[in-house]
Assembly symmetry: C2
Homo-oligomer: 319 residues x 2
Amino acid sequence: MEQVPENVPALEDIRAAYLRIRNYVHRTPVFTSKAINQIAGADLFFKCENFQKVGAFKFRGATHAVMRLREEEAARGVATHSSGNHAAALALAASLRGIPAYIVMPENSPVIKKKAVAGYGANITFCEPTLQARESSLEEVVAETGARFVHPYNNFEVVCGQGTATLEFLEQVPELEVVMPPVGGGGLLSGTAVAARGLKPEIIIYGAEPAGADDAFRSLQKGEIVPSVSPRTIADGLLTSLGPLTFAVISKKVDDILTCSEDSIVAAMRLIWERMKIVAEPSAAVPLAVVLDHPEVFRNRKVGLIVSGGNVDLTRLPF
Amino acid sequence: MEQVPENVPALEDIRAAYLRIRNYVHRTPVFTSKAINQIAGADLFFKCENFQKVGAFKFRGATHAVMRLREEEAARGVATHSSGNHAAALALAASLRGIPAYIVMPENSPVIKKKAVAGYGANITFCEPTLQARESSLEEVVAETGARFVHPYNNFEVVCGQGTATLEFLEQVPELEVVMPPVGGGGLLSGTAVAARGLKPEIIIYGAEPAGADDAFRSLQKGEIVPSVSPRTIADGLLTSLGPLTFAVISKKVDDILTCSEDSIVAAMRLIWERMKIVAEPSAAVPLAVVLDHPEVFRNRKVGLIVSGGNVDLTRLPF
């Protein structure tokens, strides 16, 4: 599964994915805030995937992967490892199709995410919070059950699903000059890039990444995947490394990866909560944090930011 | 100003108010949550006035009061005392008309509300957190400036403005069987009652009140205004007593006042934040708290709740 991909998604694949999932996903609204625009010196548009089912964009990709399985394959269920939102998304998508979901979760995942996955009726296996432990636990689960592994991001169908958020976004705000999701494993950024570049070739596409977990930034600099080793960031959804598929797409279609400080992530998160009255998780505040840290890049531009999710433990807020 | 009112608003007054303010206010969205519906055993619709300008429905009433002033009256400005949201609302409404606002605020008002009022350019006078201190400070300000006092709720134009939220709500969800805003001074409940009773005579109208500040409940029981003395509730927007105007409207048009516990307010607030991913202040969670505390009243009904505001100090959350 770690080979160079032969096949990467095109705009038509994302359009086809949207036709398959549009009855299952929410068409999420776009919010704006005059107060935040004044602070940022730019025209910002926030695509609210925190209002998506399971509280994150991940539901788009997981639903698409589940809906694409053939009957006999689907019957054995789906499996994955995930720090949280993909797990909940796959669990709900599987339950909608009436098939089992087997989820390997790091034992230090946020309580709210563990609860959500259990609430959707998935079978959970907890493991150590390392990539190695996640992968070996998952192998055992797949060997036992015959379930189909749905990778959180390095998966063609998942990337197509994530891209559907940007199909909607550019319908809602066609005048966008820049689009910027956060980047962890790169599934959302890949889908965004394919959709946005296809629909509007001249658009500028950035990935937003915490400086404390800047493996995507370094991967693009070096021209090969630089693994994420001991990342340090409050943005718990962005700890993972790029995969071969997402690296291939991002290398080809994304203009740049821009990074931000931890202080700016907290400040951005607080601005989103206080000024827009919406709950965004730290990862979802990373694009606004990048705008705050690089004001000259965005000055007076129409910038689309993807608020990737809203699953946060309210008893452990950074303010 | 504490006389029995000769004149109470009718539906036509609220319609006229809406024509005057519709270009200034947000038409706020209605949210729903399957998860909360399951917990509550009812079909709940949340009118999101936390997304209104200044983060609260109060902007509707304040804007209407300001827009109704004659030119020469407006030039001398407006004045009020308020624990927060009405102050911010009047300050912004005045700045939109380009006239001065003089605001008397209790010194213990939440920091976020003090900041908001100052940010809209109002002249602030701080006072002791008692009704007496608020009224005497206000009298001084009005004597000095000649500004027009805009009462937070016991004011015809303000009540008409607050009622516009329900004009929108019943357009957005015509099938509502029950509508329930929180009740503090009764401005929102009065406007809601006039609009809802006028548009849909058979609708059930409840006011939602903390048991620890149940002066409206007791006022309706007794048939006269029972002042709010030493209220104890986290719902800092609902500490005030009814006024003659709001008491008259509520007595005539509201089916009942229902109360809720403090624990349920916190639980309801947390449900709103966690499941709907929106920021609601404690007062705005009181209607859902009432549903949780009286499930038998709402079972399987289509219930419209007004999320009255989202201005909360994020560093002092109850969870």
